[in-house]
């Protein structure tokens, strides 16, 4: 069933705990060497899915193939996976070296082979000076490195990461993020990475699977997900500051489509509709960074408004306005920060907008 080049294939996977259904007939194919990020809010089933792939949870229905081999009933150790956990999960009574070698000793590998693999992992992760220390004597970043090393020495095809950076402070997180990316480039393993942090998802992933309620909402390259979200949930979940949503109506005026919010009419000539539009209620989404600020005419849509609130964020500033009596935010470079109650002009191209059905939330 698995074609060439498919590393992990999840087919019609369902999981329920008693009456509670966590995953619903989920399908996902991960290519060899691909970096997939499972992204979603707490309780969306992303960690559960990862545990199913690892074999730590028994599934209710469906099957899982790794490298073309059906591993649905296999033990975790026989699946060719290595896993890194949020809480590091290092064995507290063992030194770093013993932590790394535990799985290999269980597997009964010869001593020189174990030593060779540990030396390689320690070199890649730069933890050689730490090998004789206990986990308690390591910092958070070092612990997570050792945890990655434990997956590394197993010499597996697939790496599973369960929110590996969530316990670290912001600075370390961004450092290790880059290291994981470099590691992926060096090893070219398949990696499946669970996170609720959209920055991690955007920076690391070849493809992102945005999950909600046990269902994959959208599976696509980060830029596609960012620019063309398939529904309102995905649009709102990705992006910080969040996308602007205006509730209004779609109207046709002499053959040209417009989005109407109270007295504001946005022409949609440049918007690429997914399907033939019909007049009726809809939601108009526009990212704050796609709005031009005080840049004169020349935009398909322009408006003037008074500044309500200014939120300086250091690198740039978020300006809150009212558009058709609804909140609308614009991202401005910090040098151009306006004052409260200033009258400003904004402009944007509806080409960069996202229109959603008011009822289903699906992209129009």
């Amino acid at each position: 069933m698995a074609q060439n080049g498919t590393s992990v294939s999840i087919q019609d996977l369902s999981l329920s705990f008693g009456a509670v259904s966590v995953l619903h007939t989920l399908n996902l194919d991960v290519a060899e060497g691909e970096f997939i990020v499972l992204l979603g809010p707490s309780g969306c089933g992303k960690s559960t899915l990862l545990n199913c792939i690892a074999g730590l949870l028994d599934i209710s229905e469906g099957r899982i193939l790794i490298k073309g081999k059906n591993v649905t009933w296999e033990e975790p150790k026989d699946r060719g996976i290595g896993m890194v956990f949020q809480s590091y999960a290092l064995y507290p009574q063992m030194t770093v070296e013993k932590n790394l070698s535990f799985g290999l000793r269980v597997a009964g590998l010869p001593k020189d082979e174990i030593a060779k693999r540990i030396a390689r992992a320690a070199e890649i992760l730069q933890i050689e000076p730490l090998l004789q220390r206990k986990p308690a004597a390591l910092s958070g970043g070092q612990r997570q490195r050792v945890a990655i090393g434990r997956a590394l020495v197993r010499d597996v095809d697939v790496f599973l990461f369960d929110e590996p950076l969530s316990n670290l402070d912001a600075k370390l997180r961004s450092e290790l993020r880059v290291e994981i990316k470099l590691l992926h480039r060096k090893l070219e393993n398949t990696m499946i990475y669970v996170t609720h942090d959209q920055i991690e998802a955007m920076t690391l992933a070849d493809r992102i699977a945005v999950m909600k309620g046990g269902v994959i909402q959208q599976l696509d390259a980060p830029q596609t997900i960012y620019n063309r979200p398939v529904n309102r949930f995905v649009a709102g979940f990705l992006g910080s500051p969040a996308m602007n949503f205006l509730d209004g109506r779609l109207e046709q005026d002499k053959g040209a489509w417009h989005f109407v919010v109270e007295d504001v009419r946005i022409p949609l000539a440049t918007y690429a509709f997914e399907k033939e539009p019909v007049p009726g209620p809809a939601v108009f989404g526009m990212r704050p960074e796609h709005v031009a600020f005080n840049s004169g005419a020349g935009w398909p849509f322009t408006a003037t408004a008074n500044v309500e609130v200014v939120e300086p964020m250091g690198s740039d500033t978020l300006v809150w306005l009212k558009l058709g009596k609804q909140n609308f935010t614009v991202r401005v470079t910090s040098e151009r920060t306006p004052k409260n109650a200033d009258a400003v002009s904004i402009g944007f191209d509806p080409m960069r907008a996202s229109l959603f059905d008011a009822q289903t939330g699906n992209r129009l």
Partner: protein, 310 residues
């Protein structure tokens, strides 16, 4: 009061108010409540210490001195003869071998009972926490319920059961009884301890390919030192101090120290030797006391570790 008067009193001098404001460390005051508390604590301590004092003092006196009746006096001519007598020569019925056989019996009962019950309970707790099987919660509920069953209720059925397999009034019999009765509280203790360990540790070991026993021996057991110390203290104290099971299930040749002590104190041939009785009592109580003083620090730590979650 008019508006004018209010404005007149309004200006408050700035400086004195500043001086009265709290600044620096909070001053320590001894309140009457505190004094009362300490008085109560001292009285309570004396209440328990005075009998201990009398025991020690009496055990070091000769019989003539005791007959004088000065209970609180320090011994005029301290002698250790009562201790030697208690250990080697005191009579229980017709035998006059002192407490020492009882001591060795107690060791023979306590050691295996403690070891076996802790091994079983730690495996129980580990399995209940990390390998939940169908009915695991029911089993755990039953075990905990067992902690509330009064011992006296089950003595007769246990006698029938043990004698039917020929273990009544024997060393293995009493060890089995102690192991069974230690199980509820010890399992509860270990289960709560393991429940506080992050489950990811267990998952990581599974991914590393370790099975039930390897995870238990290589990962869980090395982490269980504090709770094991607690379990050892609980069990040693409980089993050493036990009288009821010992007198019923051990059989005459295996009677533990507590039973021997009772017999020594209750055997009256002529004069009642208070000094020997006191010495024998202290000797019997010594083992749990020493265990507690040596490992009390661990005890508190382990109890706290288990109490965080569960």
């Amino acid at each position: 009061m008019t508006a004018g008067q209010i404005t007149a009193t309004q200006p408050v001098p700035e400086a004195p108010e500043q001086a009265a404001q709290p600044f620096g460390p909070k001053p320590r005051r001894i309140s009457p409540g505190r004094i009362g508390l300490y008085v109560f604590l001292v009285v309570a301590a004396l209440f328990f210490l005075i009998p201990v004092y009398i025991m020690i003092v009496t055990s070091l006196k000769g019989m003539p001195e005791i007959r004088l009746g000065h209970l609180f006096n320090l011994p005029g001519e301290p002698t250790f003869q009562p201790w030697v007598d208690a250990w080697l020569h005191a009579c229980t019925g017709r035998d006059c071998n002192g407490l020492s056989p009882g001591f060795y019996n107690s060791v023979k009962i306590t050691l295996p009972s403690v070891v076996i019950s802790i091994i079983c309970a730690s495996i129980n707790g580990y399995a209940l926490t990390f390998w939940p099987y169908k009915g695991a919660n029911l089993l755990f509920g039953l075990l905990v319920f067992g902690a509330f069953v009064p011992y006296q209720v089950v003595i007769y059925p246990l006698i029938i059961g043990l004698s039917s397999v020929g273990l009544f009034a024997s060393l293995p019999g009493i060890i089995i009884v102690h192991t069974i009765f230690g199980m509820p509280i010890l399992t509860l203790l270990f289960r709560n301890f393991y429940a506080a360990i992050p489950v990811e540790l267990f998952k990581a070991a599974r991914v590393d390919g370790a099975g039930f026993w390897r995870i238990f021996f290589y990962i869980m057991l090395p982490m269980s030192v504090p709770i094991t110390v607690v379990a050892v203290i609980l069990q040693v104290t409980g089993i050493w101090n036990d009288f009821l099971f010992g007198v019923v299930f051990a059989g005459r040749p295996n009677w533990p120290m507590t039973v021997q002590l009772n017999n020594i104190v209750n055997t009256t041939t002529g004069v009642r030797e208070y000094n020997v009785n006191m010495a024998a009592t202290i000797l019997t109580a010594a083992v749990p006391l020493i265990i507690y003083f040596v490992s009390g620090r661990w005890f508190v730590r382990g109890i706290a570790a288990g109490a965080v979650k569960g």
